[in-house]
C-alpha cells in the first residue's frame, strides 16, 4: 500500500476522474416461479485485489439486485420495484493459516488457492421465488460495486475523496423468462 502524503492526496483526488469500466455478467434462469440469478464481475484485474490482500488489507464486493414487475400503465414509471436484495462479501488473506477467506454475513469460507477464491469472491447467486398468482412479467437490474482496498474505521472517512476507491459497474438489465 503506497503512502499518501499531502501532495499525492491532492493529485489522487484530482486525477480520480477517470472511471474504470467494469462489466456485470448476469445469467438468469426461471423455473416454476423460482428465479436464480448468477452475477459475476468481469474485466477486473485480479492482481489489484490479490496485492491488496497480500498487504493484510480487505477487499469488499457488493452485489445489488432489484426486481421489477412490468406494468401496462403509461407513465413515468412503467415498472414496480418488487424486491431489492444486496449481498456484501469481504475477502481477506489470513497469513497464519495461509488461507483466503470470504466473509458474508455470519459465514466464512476458506480457500487455499487464489483462483477459486477469486471466482467465488467476484460471483454471487441470488435465489428467490416470484409471486405465484401473477401472470406478470418481471425483469431485474443488477450492479456490482468492488472496493479492492477497503478503508477501516476511521479512515473510511476518506472514501468520498477517492473516486477511484470503488469500481461500480453500470446497472445491467435481465429479463426473467421461463
Amino acid at each position: 500500500m503506497r503512502k499518501i502524503n499531502f501532495i499525492s492526496f491532492i493529485i489522487l483526488f484530482l486525477s480520480s476522474l477517470s472511471l474504470h469500466a467494469q462489466v456485470t455478467n448476469v445469467v438468469a434462469s426461471l423455473n416454476n416461479s423460482k428465479a436464480v440469478i448468477h452475477l459475476h464481475l468481469s474485466d477486473i484485474s485480479p492482481d489489484e485485489i490479490l496485492k491488496s490482500l497480500s498487504e493484510n488489507q480487505t477487499a469488499e464486493i457488493t452485489f445489488e439486485l432489484r426486481l421489477y414487475k412490468k406494468t401496462e400503465k403509461f407513465g413515468l414509471s412503467p415498472a414496480i420495484l418488487t424486491k431489492e436484495i444486496s449481498s456484501v462479501q469481504s475477502g481477506r488473506w489470513i497469513p497464519v493459516t495461509e488461507q483466503y477467506t470470504i466473509s458474508t454475513g455470519d459465514k466464512t469460507f476458506y480457500y487455499k488457492k487464489s483462483e477459486p477464491f477469486l471466482i467465488s469472491f467476484l460471483s454471487e447467486e441470488f435465489t428467490f421465488t416470484l409471486p405465484e398468482s401473477s401472470k406478470a412479467t418481471y425483469y431485474c437490474v443488477t450492479r456490482i460495486r468492488l472496493i479492492p482496498l477497503k478503508f477501516m474505521a476511521p479512515f473510511n472517512l476518506l472514501e468520498p475523496f477517492f473516486r477511484n476507491y470503488s469500481r461500480t459497474s453500470p446497472w445491467t438489465r435481465v429479463e426473467l423468462t421461463g
Binding site: K3, I94, V96, P154, L158, P160, S166
Partner: protein, 592 residues
C-alpha cells in the same frame, strides 16, 4: 406604536439567527448521529452525500453577509451616520470570532493527531507484526510436527496395536507427541472403527479430496483443529488414521484480530496525512457556518449598538439646523439612556434659553426702538417748538411784520411734521409686517428681472448671475423682490461708485429631510468690521446718510416669515456675501 415598529425588524433578525443556529445544530447532530456512527462501524459512507445539502446553510449565510457588506459599503459611501463605527464593530466581532474558533480548531485537531500518533506508534506496529509472526511460526510448527509424526515409521508401528491394545496405543502416541488430542481410525469405506482421545473434536467425515498428509483445518466453536490423514494397511486391509490437534482457544480469532490491527496500522501509516487534511476539511465545514453566523449576528448586534449613536447624531444635526423641538426616544434600562436623557434635557434647556434670548432681544429691540423713536420724535419737536415760539414772539412784539416769519416757520413746522409722519409710517411698516402670500415662482426669472434694472443704472458694476439655477419654490414675489432689492442696493452702495462685481447664485441644497434654495449675494465692496457685523440686523442701525436702519431688520423679518434663514460672511476690504436659505416646499398654510 413607534417603538413596536422599530423593534419588529430586530426581533425578526434575532429569530432568523436563532433559527439558523437550530438548523446548524441539527446538521451537526445528523453528522454526529448518523455519519459518525457509520464511520465508527466501518461501513461505506453513503450517507455522507447528504452533507452536500447542508451546503445550503453556509451559502445562504455567505449571501446574507455579502448583502450586508454591500449595504455597509453603500452606507459608508453615503457617509451615513454610524457607518464607520459599525464597520469597526464588525471587524472587531469577526476578529473575536476567529480568535475563539481558530485556537479551538488547532487544539482539537492537534489532540486527534497526537492521540493517533501515540496509539499507532512504530512500537505498536512492530509488536503487532511480531505477534503475527509468532502466530505464523506456532501454526507452522504444530503443522510440521503432526505432519512429521503422521508420516513417521514410529506412528506406523504404533498403529499395529490398534486392535490389541488401543488404550496403550493412545498413551504411546500422547507420550511421544503430547500436542495430539485425538486419533480416529477409519476403514476403507470411511466408517469410523476407533476413536481415541478428546471425543469432542472427533467425528471426522473423510473427505476424498483431501489426500494423505494434507493438513485440513476445521473450527469447533472458538477452537481451531488441525487434522492430518495417514493411510495404512494391516493384514491386507486398508485403513485411514486421522490425527487431530487443537490449537489454543481463540487462536484463529486472535490471529485474525492481529491481522486486522496490522491492516489498520498499515492504513494509518499510509493515510494519516490525508486523514488529517480531511479532518481539517470537516472541521472547517462545520465551524465555517458558526463563524458566518456569528458575523451575521454581529451585523444585527452592531446595528443595535449604533442605533442610539445614530439617533444622537441625527438629533444633533436637527438641533444644529435650528429644530430644538426634536427629542430622542430611548428604551428604558438602556445603557445609553442616561446619555440620551442628558441630551434631551440639554436640548430642552437650549430651547428655553433660546426663547429667553429671543424674548430679551425683543425687549432690547423695543427699548432701543423706543429710545430711537423718542430721539427721532424729539429732534423735529425742537424746530417745531422754535418755529412756533418765533411766530408767537413776532406776533407779540411786531405783529405787523408777522408775515415775514409766518411762512418760513409754518413751512418748517410742516416739513418736520412730514418727517414725523414718514418716521411713523416706517415704524408701522416694521411693526406690522404684511402677511406673505406664497405662490409657485421661479427664482431665476425673478432675479434676472431685478438685476436688469440695476445693470442699466450701474454700468461700472459687473453683475454676474450665471450661478443662479433654475429652481421653483413657493414664496411671496413682492417680499422676495423687496429682500433682493435691499441686499443688492446695499451691495451697490458698498462699492461706493467704484468698479466692482456683484455675483448672485442660487442652488438647491438638502438639510435634514428638507430641501432648500440657497441664494448667495456676493460683492467686492468695502466689507464690514467686527463692530458693524454685530449690529447690522439691529433696528435703526445704519452707516448710510439718510438711512433709517430698518432695511436689514425688515429683510430678516421677511425671511423668517418664509421659514428661512439669513446670515453673512464679510471681510474688511474684501467684500461681503449674504446667504439666504428658503424652503422649496413651503405651503401657504405655514404662513398663516
Amino acid at each position: 406604536m413607534i417603538k413596536k415598529k422599530i423593534r419588529q425588524p430586530v426581533l425578526a433578525g434575532v429569530l432568523s439567527i436563532l433559527l439558523l443556529y437550530i438548523v446548524l445544530i441539527l446538521m451537526i447532530l445528523l453528522f454526529a448521529g448518523k455519519i459518525l456512527s457509520d464511520i465508527s462501524s466501518g461501513v461505506s459512507l453513503v450517507k455522507l452525500r447528504y452533507l452536500a445539502f447542508s451546503l445550503v446553510l453556509p451559502l445562504f449565510l455567505i449571501t446574507s453577509i455579502i448583502i450586508n457588506i454591500y449595504r455597509l459599503i453603500k452606507q459608508r459611501k453615503n457617509k451615513a451616520p454610524g457607518a464607520t463605527f459599525k464597520t469597526k464593530l464588525l471587524i472587531f466581532f469577526t476578529f473575536i470570532s476567529l480568535l475563539s474558533s481558530i485556537p479551538q480548531g488547532i487544539l482539537a485537531l492537534s489532540f486527534i493527531n497526537s492521540a493517533m500518533e501515540s496509539w499507532f506508534s512504530s512500537g505498536f506496529g512492530e509488536a503487532m507484526h511480531g505477534g503475527l509472526q509468532i502466530a505464523i511460526d506456532y501454526n507452522r510448527l504444530v503443522s510440521r510436527e503432526i505432519k512429521s509424526f503422521s508420516g513417521s515409521h514410529i506412528f506406523e508401528n504404533i498403529l499395529d496395536q490398534m486392535f490389541t491394545s488401543p488404550d496403550r496405543m493412545w498413551l504411546t502416541v500422547k507420550s511421544i507427541h503430547p500436542m495430539i488430542d485425538a486419533l480416529e481410525i477409519f476403514d476403507d469405506n470411511g466408517n469410523t472403527i476407533l476413536i481415541l482421545g478428546d471425543d469432542r473434536i472427533t467425528g471426522t467425515v473423510l473427505n476424498p479430496s483431501i489426500g494423505e498428509g494434507t493438513i485440513s483445518r476445521s473450527k469447533q466453536g472458538d477452537r481451531s483443529i488441525l487434522k492430518i490423514r495417514r493411510n495404512f494397511s494391516k493384514d491386507g486391509i486398508r485403513y485411514s488414521a486421522v490425527i487431530s490437534t487443537v490449537l489454543p482457544d481463540n487462536f484463529d480469532t486472535n490471529a485474525s484480530n492481529i491481522t486486522r490491527t496490522i491492516q489498520l496500522f498499515s492504513q494509518f501509516q499510509n493515510l494519516h496525512s490525508a486523514f488529517f487534511l480531511v479532518l481539517i476539511f470537516f472541521f472547517t465545514y462545520f465551524s465555517l457556518p458558526i463563524l458566518l453566523l456569528s458575523i451575521l449576528a454581529s451585523f444585527l448586534l452592531s446595528d443595535e449598538i449604533i442605533k442610539p449613536v445614530v439617533h444622537l447624531e441625527e438629533a444633533i444635526s436637527r438641533v444644529m439646523e435650528g429644530d430644538y423641538s426634536h427629542r430622542i426616544l430611548s428604551k428604558q434600562k438602556d445603557d445609553l439612556a442616561n446619555l440620551v436623557n442628558s441630551f434631551n434635557r440639554m436640548v430642552a434647556e437650549l430651547e428655553q434659553s433660546r426663547q429667553n434670548l429671543v424674548q430679551n432681544e425683543k425687549v432690547s429691540a423695543w427699548q432701543e426702538i423706543a429710545q430711537r423713536m423718542a430721539h427721532e420724535i424729539k429732534n423735529p419737536l425742537t424746530p417745531i417748538k422754535l418755529s412756533a415760539q418765533r411766530i408767537l414772539k413776532k406776533y407779540s412784539k411786531e405783529p405787523e411784520s408777522l408775515d415775514k416769519v409766518l411762512a418760513p416757520s409754518i413751512a418748517a413746522i410742516i416739513a418736520e411734521v412730514e418727517n414725523l409722519t414718514k418716521l411713523i409710517q416706517q415704524f408701522r411698516d416694521f411693526a406690522k409686517m404684511p402677511v406673505p402670500h406664497p405662490v409657485k415662482m421661479n427664482i431665476k426669472n425673478h432675479i434676472e428681472q431685478l438685476v436688469t434694472l440695476y445693470s442699466g443704472s450701474f454700468s461700472e458694476i459687473d453683475m454676474d448671475i450665471s450661478g443662479v439655477k433654475d429652481i421653483s419654490l413657493n414664496a411671496d414675489p413682492d417680499q422676495l423682490k423687496s429682500i433682493f432689492s435691499n441686499l443688492i442696493s446695499n451691495a451697490v452702495e458698498s462699492l461706493k461708485g467704484r468698479k466692482g462685481k456683484i455675483s448672485i447664485r442660487a442652488d438647491e441644497i438638502v438639510k435634514g429631510n428638507s430641501r432648500y434654495c440657497r441664494i448667495q449675494i456676493q460683492d467686492t465692496g468695502t466689507g464690514m468690521d467686527r463692530d458693524m457685523k454685530d449690529k447690522i440686523f439691529n433696528p435703526y442701525f445704519t452707516t448710510k446718510d439718510g438711512g433709517t436702519g430698518l432695511g436689514l431688520p425688515i429683510v430678516e423679518r421677511m425671511i423668517a416669515e418664509h421659514k428661512g434663514q439669513i446670515w453673512f460672511e464679510s471681510e474688511k476690504g474684501v467684500g461681503t456675501t449674504f446667504f439666504i436659505d428658503l424652503p422649496i416646499e413651503l405651503r401657504a398654510g405655514v404662513f398663516v
